[in-house]
């Protein structure tokens, strides 16, 4: 081993890593499937504030509501609408509470694994989704002029 030059030693390490720490097949399958989350006709709602990123140039400082467990507040802006999202973990998955600033229809939570959870928005623009499993998710909604909008992916 000690007689190997740097490149040969590195090649040995690469070979061993492929044996003891390979990329799991599920990770490769999920990567291939990720392209199905591409839509050409939608608008992206950008993240404009995230309480988990205090100091990153976004608007919020870390927020802890009085008497509540830690929750995370995010704001997205797209399709002429802003949406505030409040994430809190509960015993049975994630609770997502939202508030739109304008009229929207067809709101749903999309998950990174392709799952979709329809959510009802009330006349004041509020919604609650309970029991959302962990992992990447985003919101989709249709704005007043019928434009489909999706938020950037967020990881709770």
């Amino acid at each position: 081993m000690n007689e190997l030059d740097d490149d040969a030693l590195m090649a040995e390490l690469r070979r061993i890593a492929a044996e003891v720490d390979p990329v799991p097949p599920g990770v490769i399958d999920a990567a291939r499937a990720a392209i199905s989350t591409r839509y050409l006709d939608h608008e992206l709602a950008e993240l404009v504030a995230d309480s988990a990123d205090a100091g990153s140039g976004l608007l919020f400082e870390a927020v802890r509501g009085p008497g509540t467990a830690e929750s995370r507040l995010l704001t997205y802006d797209g399709g002429g609408v802003q949406v505030d999202v409040d994430l809190a973990s509960t015993g049975a998955g994630l609770r997502v509470i939202g508030q739109f600033t304008g009229p929207v229809t067809e709101c749903a939570v999309e998950r990174g694994d392709g799952g979709v959870l329809d959510v009802a928005v009330d006349e004041l623009g509020r919604f609650v989704a309970d029991g959302v499993p962990p992992g990447p998710m985003r919101l989709r909604y249709r704005s007043e002029i019928g434009q489909m909008v999706r938020t950037a992916w967020l990881v709770p």
């Binding site: 081993m1 000690n2 740097d6 490149d7 030693l9 590195m10 040995e12 390490l13 690469r14 061993i16 890593a17 492929a18 044996e19 003891v20 720490d21 990329v23 799991p24 599920g26 990770v27 490769i28 999920a30 990567a31 291939r32 990720a34 392209i35 989350t37 591409r38 992206l44 988990a52 830690e70 990174g112 962990p134 992992g135 990447p136 950037a152 992916w153 990881v155």
Partner: protein
Amino acid sequence: MGPAIRGDGMDPLAEADARDLVERVRDGDNEAWVALTDRYVSLLWSVARSMRLSEADAADAVQTTWLRLVEALDSLRDPARVGSWLATTMRRECLAVLRRRARVVAAEGWDQLAGDTAALDEALLRRERDAALWRAFKGLGPRCQSLLRMLMAEPAPSYAEVSAALDMPVGGIGPTRRRCLDNLRKIMLAGAHPFEAPSAGSA
């Protein structure tokens, strides 16, 4: 033979391939997407493992990075450098995971979380010299383990990609790699090193 890496860490041939793949994916070519993910999935995995994420956390961070690439496909400014874009995005996702973990389970042992599975790894390695080499690798300091694990990606990452993944200047990678491999040889020469844990979680 490694790829032809220029002083700025770029690999012109690989870059042309990457640009071509991204452009085909933009045009809706699914095979190009499969080729692109196959080309870079080991790079992403290596970033996560280099930053000591557990398998489950690594899998989540890799997936999030692919989702972000799909989201950014049409706005990607420099498709030739999609590898560096992926490495940077992956680093950010890993840091976010580590921040969440630190908040949620600060009290639990780091080693358990990070999946320090030296004993398990060795059981997988039938050849004693492979096991000895891996044991020596695990005996390196965290900085060397991190860089070398990153360089173990298959195919070998360009220095520009390593630089993006580890937030390290391109010019520092070559000398650090040399020093870390020298340390590795010293550990091999000295035989079993003193820092080795007998088995995972025995502390």
